[in-house]
Symmetry: C2
């Protein structure tokens, strides 16, 4: 017998037929003798509709009232699932954020969970009752409804799993796990049985939409084992033993056969900014990145060429593609102060990354990469590295070629 938190996203509860499939997944676990907490998102599209209404009501609005409006969608799906479970003979009840309660801070719209009361909750679970919890919502210090920000249902699920000491937190989604690369780009990509928290964090922050970065961090801190699996699998046919089902995100100690590189990711969501002929003097970086930081624009990779003449240099960095126009505007406005000859922006680039905790103990991963890409004639525009990741910036035209090349290079192709 295990205590499971099961989380289902918006596409998994898009209509009553889909919610019935969710109920069948729950029934399978109950029949296997497990205790179940189910965390739900709103019906797909519902939260977007509610957000749009708050925007139409007033572009700048009270986040406390925004939370009242947008938290309603999860309330609907939770009540409906409880009704369906009951109709299948499974005791179930919904628990709204303020009923449990899930206490958060008062940062409405992007609140952080500060505590969850579990005594009554645990008692009911041990009596065989399924707890259905609307994700994404909590209650603030002033007794007002709070929401946790987009993708907050993952965070709700992980926080509940941590508070309850759950054996596992199952994230049901529209893919069946984490792959060594995007299967649409690399047909030889394999589903990973396990991935470490650190690797998952890097993958999530590189734009993989499967798990929200924040929920992975929370899982890592509280050592919550996350199983990413598909809600589109036939619910009855999934074996009780989850080995081979989905991808388990867990502590790296639990992963016996560690690969040096576990996956290749790429993202098109970045844009490149180049300042041509910047004066090469102390304090120049501050004068460039200070105004960007003030405008809340995150800078990712930075490359500063060695200056040929000793007086000027070219400076290149990346920002999120959605921030490009704003970034160019900011730099335009401080042109006098920085002093540059030309300002260039480009979006025809991609960032390709190799991720793996094995890099910590293996030298030569980066140099292998550079050689393999050079052999294919791919030019590297910028490089950034972390302890478990190497990222490069290249022309968008070479994206697929680079991903496939690296996937083969690190031995990830399936047999």
């Amino acid at each position: 017998m295990a205590l499971l938190v099961m989380k289902f996203g918006g596409t998994s509860v898009a209509d009553l037929d889909r919610i019935r499939i969710v109920a069948a997944h729950v029934k399978r676990e109950i029949d296997a003798g497990n205790q179940c907490v189910v965390v739900l998102s709103a019906m797909a599209g519902q939260t977007d509709q509610l957000i749009e209404w708050t925007r139409q009501a007033a572009p700048l609005h009270d986040a406390r009232e925004y939370d009242v409006v947008v938290s309603s969608g999860e309330q609907v799906t939770s009540g409906l699932l409880a009704i369906i479970l009951q109709s299948m003979g499974i005791p179930a009840r919904s628990w709204l954020g303020w009923q449990i309660p899930i206490r958060t801070d008062d940062v409405h719209g992007t609140a952080r969970i500060v505590g969850i009361e579990t005594a009554e909750f645990k008692k009911r679970l041990s009596q065989g009752e399924v707890a259905v919890v609307p994700g994404f919502q909590g209650i603030g210090p002033e007794n007002r409804v709070t929401t946790l920000g987009r993708g907050g249902s993952d965070t709700s699920a992980v926080a509940l799993a941590a508070a309850l000491g759950a054996d596992r937190c199952d994230i049901y989604t529209d893919v069946d796990g984490i792959y060594t690369a995007d299967p649409r780009v690399v047909p030889q990509a394999r589903r990973l049985d396990k991935i470490s928290y650190e690797e998952m964090l890097e993958t999530a922050s590189l734009g993989a939409k499967v798990l929200q970065t924040r929920s992975v961090q929370l899982a890592m801190v509280h050592q919550v084992r996350l199983l990413v699996r598909s809600s589109f699998d036939p619910p009855d046919e999934v074996p009780d033993d989850v080995t081979g089902v989905g991808t388990l995100v867990c502590d790296e100690d639990e992963i016996v056969e560690q690969q040096v590189v576990s996956g290749i990711a790429y993202t098109k969501d970045e844009a490149k900014v180049t300042l041509v002929k910047v004066k090469d003097k102390p304090g120049i970086a501050a004068s460039v990145f200070g105004p960007l930081a003030k405008a809340n624009i995150n800078v990712d990779m930075i490359v500063q060429n060695v200056s040929a003449d000793g007086a000027t240099t070219d400076m290149t960095f990346t920002v999120a593609a959605v921030d490009l126009d704003r970034a160019l505007g900011v730099l335009e406005s401080v042109k006098e102060k920085i002093g540059y000859a030309e300002l260039l922006g480009a979006t025809d680039i991609v960032k390709v990354s190799a991720i793996g905790v094995g890099m910590r103990s293996h030298a030569g991963v980066a140099s292998q990469m550079f050689k393999a890409l050079a052999d294919k004639g791919i030019n590297i525009g910028a490089i950034s590295t972390s302890e478990i990741k190497i990222s490069i910036l290249i022309d968008a035209a070479y994206a697929e070629l680079a991903v496939r090349t690296l996937h083969s290079l690190y031995g990830l192709d399936s047999a």
Copy 2:
């Protein structure tokens, strides 16, 4: 300065443009120095959609979960109105049922309000903050969301007005008041400036959709003055003095020029059942109406003809049209026990009623009616009276003629 509760129904909050008009009505009252509590319904059609989902989830479902689902619609409109009011510079916040709290009993789906805590609420109002309250919802003894049944937002508004000792409860609706008769039938019908609680109760129970019967009862018990007015009036042009705006439902003592009859109502929602040749013996009424009561079918008007032969009689009564088939089925099943020759059902009838507290002190109202209708050749199938109402059952074909005849008879036609 007055403390006002303002209630807006589903068509008045159907979309953001309509909610902006609601906000303009509130602004007018705030600018006039009044304190405002605003009670809202869900967007038109939303509650029906939510109810349909619960029905699809399971035809027989836990009323506690039904309440969780269907209470979400009012939460949305309340948050949106608070946002719009704030954007107009008017301090406002939403108060969900559990936040105030509005305490109810545990009869989920049709809960009754048992108490409202007003201390914090009053403090905020006196500071000029508008309280926006989702109607229809409360919190039960076990900390679960409850709803008050269809039209419950009227009840929420009246209960809040009573608890707060409000000067008036304004019911904004899609008509501009209570008329002496349906203006579509009687072009000379006039809007009443005032109507007594008792008259309004009779009118509401006769099928007028403007106010829920329960909310009128509550208003009568707590002496809450209700103003029925149109939310489609231009919000800025309504004079601050409400004389001449809408219809005030109030104590009859407040109505100086009392008419004998204040209005003529009619309803097509009834059906006639006739038992032909029932044995005329003691206990026969019980054997007919007992089984109907057990099946939860309300019987309205009853006529038992004097038996010609002293052995059998014809018995006629009315039930709600929606209950006709069930009523016939019930009587079919106890035919042996009752003993009748034939069972007839008819829906081509209407009930026409004259209502007025003045009847209490005026004799001859009924005899005037019978004579006027006889003069027009209208046959009366059944009669029922209360202290302030006379109802007759006639052929549906004569409905309009009868209503117009009585409207003239009692001097209600406008000049």
